[in-house]
């Protein structure tokens, strides 16, 4: 059970597991709390009889069923109050759902049979601009833009102060969760968190996106954990432009994309440069798949690319089968990488295992460091001796590296749909809770290099 799923004690009092209790103190949107109605509620939950429970304001937190009570998901969402569960039964729903109410949980009863289908004409499957919203256990496909979007940049007030504002406005989205969701063949991203912080993206499967499967961008601090997820057959598996602070991408699989993972800095978004992402325990393999959609000005054949990022940690990943390089610490646009740590990774079957490629004007390590990796080839050669950890300013001669033009891609709509994925256990009856603005703690010491 994930740590932010609610549990009930013997008296029927709902409580939250470690790390999330502070929400009750910190977050107004998450104040709903069941009254101690005892055994009756426990029996109701166990019997699949999710109905409602009280909150601090003496309102009722309700289960709103689609289509039994509401013909459309949007109708249920529009009626929902903070803390409510919108429970969706199997079917195809041709809707672009917009969620503007805090603390709602959208859940399908079957991940593979509850399908939001945009038919290549609707914008986003689920577009969230409210705090504390969770999306669980459903499939979202064929939208023109994104499968699931969390967007905190909704106040177009012209404010662009990166110290105080996220996006074009000051309205940052706090708290979001995506669990047991499949997103495929959408026109931009599968799961997209923009100008949002306090997130958990777990057990998602994303494929067939011409930009990236999972995108976290323009946030500082982001405070997001991406874990136990799979990204395949996208242009990029994980894309983290200007996603800084408290970003953990762990224990996931990035395979058969054009580029596996890339925390990076770009001028196209606010809050550059990107800093402080941890990439740990991931299986990053064979990201040199031509039968994928090609991102504009794209890259091909890379495992993990730190593109002009700062103070990132790439730790104990298995990286293999890449035609350009396994792990690259490289310049991107005007940004050159600094203070990144590449440690304890296992690299095999890559054309080049490790690469350090700063701006040509940089003749030193810029405190980037490589240590304890299992690898065969690097550029510069003997990279761990030249750029040891902890990082410091050591001289490094310029290297010459290039890659052939990327192969043509395929239309994102032509990427085969994925097979069925594991569904959330007991989705129709399991308790629910709003998304926490504080992601679960990550124990990096317990993360190991995954097996192939």
């Amino acid at each position: 059970m994930p740590p932010d799923i609610v549990k009930f004690d013997a008296e029927g009092e709902k409580f939250l597991r470690s790390g999330v209790t502070s929400l009750l103190r910190d977050s107004a949107v998450l104040r709903h709390r069941c009254r101690p109605i005892g055994v009756a509620l426990i029996v109701a939950v166990l019997a699949g009889g999710l109905t409602s429970c009280g909150n601090d304001e003496n309102d009722q937190v309700s289960v709103r069923r689609v289509p039994q009570q509401y013909a459309t998901i949007q109708a249920a969402v529009d009626e929902a109050r903070p803390g409510d569960l919108v429970l969706i039964s199997p079917g195809e729903y041709h809707e672009a759902v917009v969620v503007e109410t805090d603390g709602i949980v959208l859940r399908g009863t079957d991940r593979n049979l509850v399908v939001l289908d945009g038919e290549d004409r609707l914008p986003n499957g689920v577009a969230v601009t409210a705090d504390g919203v969770a999306v669980e256990n459903l499939t979202v496909r064929r939208y023109q833009q994104n499968g699931v979007l969390f967007n905190g940049s909704t106040e177009a007030d012209g404010s662009r102060d990166p110290d105080t504002a996220y996006g074009s406005g000051g309205n940052t989205l706090d708290g979001y969760r995506v669990s047991w969701v499949t997103a495929h063949n959408n026109g931009l991203y599968g799961v997209y968190a923009f100008a949002s912080r306090g997130g958990l993206i777990e057990r998602v499967y994303v494929s067939g996106h011409p930009d990236s499967g999972i995108y976290v961008g323009q946030c500082k601090p982001c405070d997001v954990v991406v874990r136990d997820s799979v990204a395949e057959y996208n242009a990029i598996g994980y894309y983290g432009t200007n996603a800084s602070g408290g970003v953990y991408v762990i224990d996931s699989v990035f395979a058969h994309n054009r580029l596996g993972m890339t925390p990076n800095s770009q001028q196209a978004e606010l809050l550059a440069p990107q800093v402080e992402t941890v990439i740990a325990g991931n299986l990053v393999v064979d990201n040199a798949e031509a039968a994928t959609p090609a991102i504009a000005n794209g890259f091909f054949g890379g495992g993990i690319a730190i593109g002009g990022g700062t103070a990132n940690t790439v730790l104990r990943n298995r990286v293999s089968g890449h035609s350009s390089y396994g792990i690259g610490v490289v310049r991107l646009g005007i940004y050159t990488p600094e203070r990144n740590t590449i440690e304890g990774n296992v690299l095999e079957d890559n054309s080049l295992d490790l690469l350090y490629l700063p701006d040509p004007s940089i003749d030193h390590s810029a405190a980037n460091c490589f240590a304890g990796n299992t690898f065969t080839t690097s550029l510069p050669e003997a990279i761990e001796a030249l750029l040891p950890c902890p990082g410091s300013r050591t001289p490094v001669a310029a290297v010459v590296w290039g890659q052939p033009p990327p192969p043509a891609g395929i239309d994102y709509r032509d990427v085969p749909a994925p097979s069925a994925r594991p569904s959330m256990p007991d989705a129709a009856t399991a308790p629910w809770t709003s998304a926490s603005p504080i992601p679960p703690a990550v124990d990096l010491a317990s993360i190991r290099v995954p097996e192939r």
Binding site: P123, Q144, N151, A156, G167, L188, F194, P210, E269
Partner: protein, 246 residues
């Protein structure tokens, strides 16, 4: 408070815009809605989806120098064909075919030079594009460049400085919404389905030197002239350069 002179200037600008394209131009600039930014995100992708179009392009490239094209563009294959009329620039070119890697010209100014040199007529000259050095080629690249294999990101469009809704308008009896993307690109999009009706771009002096009009969308296939009518520019020696300078 605005002075009377300022109000007069604004009025004149509005009149000029109305004369250029619209029946009801109101100064209603505001930030984009998500629907409007999505229209901008889709428009160049839609051009590819629609295949191609017949078009007109008017470019002011300098003081008294203009290039006008009327033709067809295949956005999926990145090819075009146009009749060319110019003033004070590229005056020898009558007709062009082009792709990403070649420009074919029919030149009126080449025939007398060839005759003088005792060489047979050359209906078409093929050469590499020179998008940096030749303004004609910049215009051609702009036409085929109004296409994208991937949709743009509406969220980034919304926060791009300068992006704005300008007004609702009517152009060639089509209800349009006029949107600015960034500081210098203005799109006139059909209100009903978002298709491109007009594209304007600005230069640093904000004189709107580029106006591209879609006349009609269609599946366009562009076949060049017969191969036996095409001569490589390298085979003409100095005659081509001489034609450019006449």
């Amino acid at each position: 408070m605005r002075s009377t002179r300022q109000w007069a200037a604004i009025t004149l600008c509005a009149l000029a815009l109305a004369a250029c394209g619209g029946d009801a131009a109101e100064p209603t600039e505001r930030t984009l809605t998500s629907e409007e930014s999505a229209m901008l995100a889709n428009v160049l992708f839609q051009n590819v989806e629609r295949g191609g179009a017949s078009f007109q392009l008017a470019v002011q490239v300098g003081d008294g120098a203009t290039i006008n094209l009327q033709g067809e563009v295949d956005w999926s294959e990145h090819r075009g064909h146009a009749q060319v009329s110019t003033r004070n620039v590229e005056q020898g070119v009558r007709e062009v075919f082009w792709s990403d890697d070649a420009v074919l010209e029919a030149r009126d100014d080449l025939a007398p030079l060839l005759e003088q040199a005792g060489r047979p007529a050359v209906p078409w000259v093929v050469r590499d594009p020179e998008p940096v050095g030749r303004q004609l080629d910049q215009a051609l690249a702009l036409v085929t460049g109004l296409a994208a294999e991937q949709r743009d990101n509406p969220l980034l469009i919304e926060q791009e400085p300068g992006s704005a809704f300008l007004r609702n308008d009517t152009l060639r009896r089509v209800e349009v919404v006029v949107l600015r993307y960034g500081e210098r690109a203005v799109y006139w999009l059909a209100a009903d389905d978002g298709r491109l009706v007009r594209f304007e771009s600005d230069n640093a002096s904000q004189t709107r030197p580029v106006v591209f009009d879609v006349l009609e969308f269609d599946e366009i296939t562009i076949d060049g002239p017969p191969v036996d009518q095409i001569t490589d520019v390298a085979d003409l020696g100095d005659l081509y350069t001489a034609a450019l300078t006449t």
